[in-house]
């Protein structure tokens, strides 16, 4: 049944028909790779190769290659881990939470955002594995497997172990959610395929989907329940990541505000990354009619909200440090703002608290260039947030005799670069071989989004 809104802007512009949607989305998959795509892939693979050298050297010689010392035992590795996991969260948020809230604008961006989630979680999961030093033994350290240590099991009291379960569950459930959504679109590509290889490949990927009414009914039931379980899952994952810090006794980490504050930060950085990627994708793949200004503006509004929550969390942390009357806690926060890492702290404050407030201005909120720049600034700021929490709390703790500074080596930077290369290689491969927009779902909202959308048959 057609239910149109006279006030909302259309979610798909340009008077598209159902057939136009198929053509526009499949064009990329069926056509030859474009020049910008090949350029992007070359850069991504370049970063991947340079990074791979740093990674291999780290594995070969051990994590002594990094700039860690006895005081700062976690630095870029865990900063990058938390940062990448945070980025991953927006994908599930868009596909699960917005599905539960019946937000139809999610349909054009959910596919790419979920892909981003999966690739970001792969990058994130690499860091805890590498920082073990001897990851090939990690199976026995991290998973409850019968092992050579006798019947000595992993410690279920440890947040680090909860992380193992949280991240692996999050990754596998997100992967399944993403794949279920892809199945009908693979069937579309299979039915349009003209050459044998794509017929076989997309035939296998589509699992024999033909779009019967019964299958659609089940598909919708499955999507809704997956969204229902994925929503608390997202919250649990970043809450558990924050427990890695919050359950310890390090000043600056031991705070109850961490779970909600980390979750808000994750959504904040995740949406920023979605914007960065989608703005490029819509430009390169000519998808301006599907990812419209309405979409961009709505995402910017989410950035204002979560950015403000993060800002309040920073101020609350400071207040509670003072109010607790614990001198170590008070020192940790004064040291963050005025100590040797003041520049990191103030970069974080500028990027995360001040810059998103610019989106209150409609002109900035609806400007592509401003959105793109600010989305990158937010991501830089969120990296600094994790760096500040981890390094500034560790480098000066209870014992002044062990105070130290952290300086990254080439290998710290290289492994980070490796994950960037990996992320963009995977994302570009996805964008070329998979439909970046969920055709089936966009088709289902085509007529119900607005009266302003002209209907052509």
């Amino acid at each position: 049944m057609q239910v149109t809104s006279p006030v909302r802007d259309p979610l798909v512009t340009g008077g598209k028909t159902l057939h136009d949607i198929t053509n526009d989305v499949c064009r990329q998959v069926e056509g030859k790779p474009t020049l910008p795509w090949m350029g992007g892939m070359a850069i991504a693979l370049g970063a991947l190769s340079i990074g791979a050298y740093a990674l291999v050297m780290t594995l070969w010689d051990g994590i002594g290659m990094w700039g860690l010392n006895k005081t700062v035992g976690w630095a870029w590795d865990i900063t990058n881990f938390v940062w990448w996991v945070g980025i991953g969260h927006a994908g599930t948020l868009i596909s699960a939470v917005l599905l539960l809230f019946r937000q139809k604008w999610r349909t054009s961006i959910n596919r790419a955002a979920e892909a981003m989630t999966i690739f970001a979680v792969i990058c994130a999961a690499m860091f805890p594995v590498i920082h073990m030093g001897r990851p090939w033994l990690g199976f026995y350290w991290a998973l409850p497997l019968p092992n050579a240590f006798g019947p000595l099991w992993v410690n279920f009291n440890s947040p680090l172990l909860w992380d193992v379960f949280a991240i692996s569950t999050y990754f596998s459930v997100s992967l399944v959610f993403w794949y279920i959504g892809l199945v009908p679109d693979f069937a579309t590509i299979r039915d349009r395929a003209t050459n044998k290889i794509s017929k076989i490949a997309y035939g296998a990927l589509s699992l024999g989907w033909v779009g019967g009414a019964k299958a659609w009914e089940r598909y919708e039931a499955v999507s809704l329940i997956l969204a229902g379980v994925a929503t608390p899952l997202v919250l649990s994952v970043h809450t558990i990541v924050s427990f890695d810090f919050a359950t310890s006794v390090i000043p600056g980490w031991h705070t109850t505000i961490f779970p909600p504050y980390f979750v808000a930060g994750a959504i904040f950085s995740g949406f920023a990354m979605v914007l960065t990627l989608m703005l490029i994708t819509r430009h390169v793949f000519k998808l301006k009619n599907y990812i419209t200004m309405t979409h961009i503006e709505l995402m910017n509004i989410i950035i204002i909200i979560t950015g403000s929550i993060v800002g309040i969390a920073y101020i609350t942390e400071f207040f509670i440090a003072w109010y607790s009357g614990v001198p170590y806690e008070q020192y940790a926060f004064i040291n963050r703002a005025t100590g040797p890492y003041w520049w990191a702290y103030w970069s974080m404050m500028t990027c995360n608290v001040i810059s998103p407030q610019l989106f209150w201005i409609k002109k900035i909120r609806t400007s592509i260039v401003a959105t793109f720049i600010l989305s990158i600034i937010v991501n830089i700021g969120m990296w600094f947030e994790r760096f500040v929490i981890i390094v500034t709390s560790l480098h000066r703790d209870y014992l002044p005799s062990s105070w130290a500074m952290f300086y990254p080596t080439f290998y710290d930077i290289g492994v980070y670069l490796f994950t960037f290369g990996l992320f963009f290689t995977l994302f570009l491969a996805f964008a070329k071989f998979f439909p970046v927009i969920n055709m089936a779902e966009v088709k289902s909202i085509l007529r119900s989004s607005s009266e302003k959308q002209p209907i052509r048959r």
């Binding site: 172990l161 279920i180 009908p184 579309t188 779009g211 055709m439 088709k443």
Partner: protein
């Protein structure tokens, strides 16, 4: 009639007409085999008289299995098989078992439900689906009527489909 099943296909291009069409076709006494659509058309399953999917129940049961497994595993490992006091905590403190229990509940519920969905819907990589009309994954809705399960004669069915608003009526045999 040649060997194999023969189908009459009614092609629709509008979901509202399709929904009304399904009703009128069923009222005319024609049994619809299945309707294929490029996107989920809400209300179609009611119009076709399908029962609600029991997948939510399956998900719940698998979730329950996950909870049980996780709690049993943790209590067995931490309290029975190798009890150790860690950080002054009890051998088996329930609150610290909650995160892992929650994750395994979600994991088993999702995988169990999706696995069941694949099995009951016959979705598998080596499946050779019957594609009635390739446009059903693009922009057309296809109503398939199986001749072998219908007593009504061919020309009558075609008339009914036309009357229901089909823009084309085709025949297809497998």
């Amino acid at each position: 009639m040649e060997s194999g099943k023969n189908y009459i296909l009614g092609i629709f291009d509008d979901e509202d007409i399709l929904l009304k069409g399904v009703k009128s076709v069923r009222e005319a006494g024609v049994k619809i085999e299945e309707v294929f659509t490029p996107y989920p058309v809400h209300g179609l399953e009611h119009a076709l008289g399908y029962k609600r999917s029991k997948l939510p129940v399956v998900a719940f049961l698998f979730g329950l299995l996950g909870t049980t497994l996780a709690l049993t595993m943790q209590f067995f490992m931490m309290k029975i098989d190798w009890p150790m006091i860690i950080g002054g905590k009890d051998f088996a403190p329930l609150p610290t078992f909650i995160p892992v229990t929650f994750e395994l509940t979600v994991l088993l519920a999702s995988f169990g439900m999706v696995g069941t969905f694949f099995v009951i819907s016959n979705l598998k990589p080596w499946a050779q689906p019957k594609v009635f009309d390739v446009r059903s994954t693009d922009d057309k809705m296809v109503m398939a009527v199986d001749l072998s399960t219908n007593k009504t004669d061919l020309s009558k069915i075609k008339e009914v489909l036309k009357g229901a608003g089909a823009i084309e009526v085709n025949e297809k045999s497998f």
